[in-house]
Amino acid sequence: MALAPVGLQHFLVLAVILFCIGMYGALSRSNAVGILLSIELMLNAVNIMMVAFARYINTQQELAGQLFAIFIMTVAAAEAAVGLAIVISVYRLRHTIQVEDIDLLKG
């Protein structure tokens, strides 16, 4: 079989592609929860990169990449909780979570 051994670049390319899929979703969705789901995908793609760097890059600070991934996970948890609370609150007030209908601050 002609499978190349998996290296750093394989993981980085996978992460970049996942990040771009998530970015397309975040930019093209009109449902606020859909946008939050796409942002979670983007954050996870970055986490794959961080852990891949921790595994393959030659550095004095071993595991620094994994610690970054842990902090990203923490911030993502807080972001998801606050974001979804805002979505539920907006739905209660306006009965919609389509982002183009939420235009209360538009002049």
Binding site: V33, L36, Q66
Partner: protein, 167 residues
Amino acid sequence: MSATDAISSIVFYAVAALMLACAVGMVFARNMIRSALLLVVVLSGVALMYVLLSADFLAVAQILVYVGAIMVLMLFAIMLTPNQVDLSGGTTQGQKISAALTAITIGTIAVGVVITHPWNLRPTALNVETAERIGMLLLNTYVLPFWIASILLTVGLIGAIVIAREE
């Protein structure tokens, strides 16, 4: 190529293909519940990638935090906003095309940089007890970020309760 390398290559390609297919399905699914469930598959795939990258602690944390907690939160949010389950195709065609162009441009540039950059690779594989070392690092070198992250989580969760509760 040793047997372990061959197995990890096969697992990598299989999981990567599954993750990419589910990510594309998640972005294009019209039904929000289906979209969220496809994201669960992608997040579990990320946990498998962490195992391949010898980050066992992070793989368990990924399953617990993302697949366990955040996705349940997402599903609750989808179910608490009824009549929004199906996307009504609210975005215009132009917005979709420009979103695709942005994603493809950034993706092409990033893949080019990632492939051509001369990375300074480590000579030997990473072989440390991750959970133990991460605990030591969090309480020594990274103790200030650890505190800030703890305060951020507390403030964020209290804020979420205050925002979402009925008046």
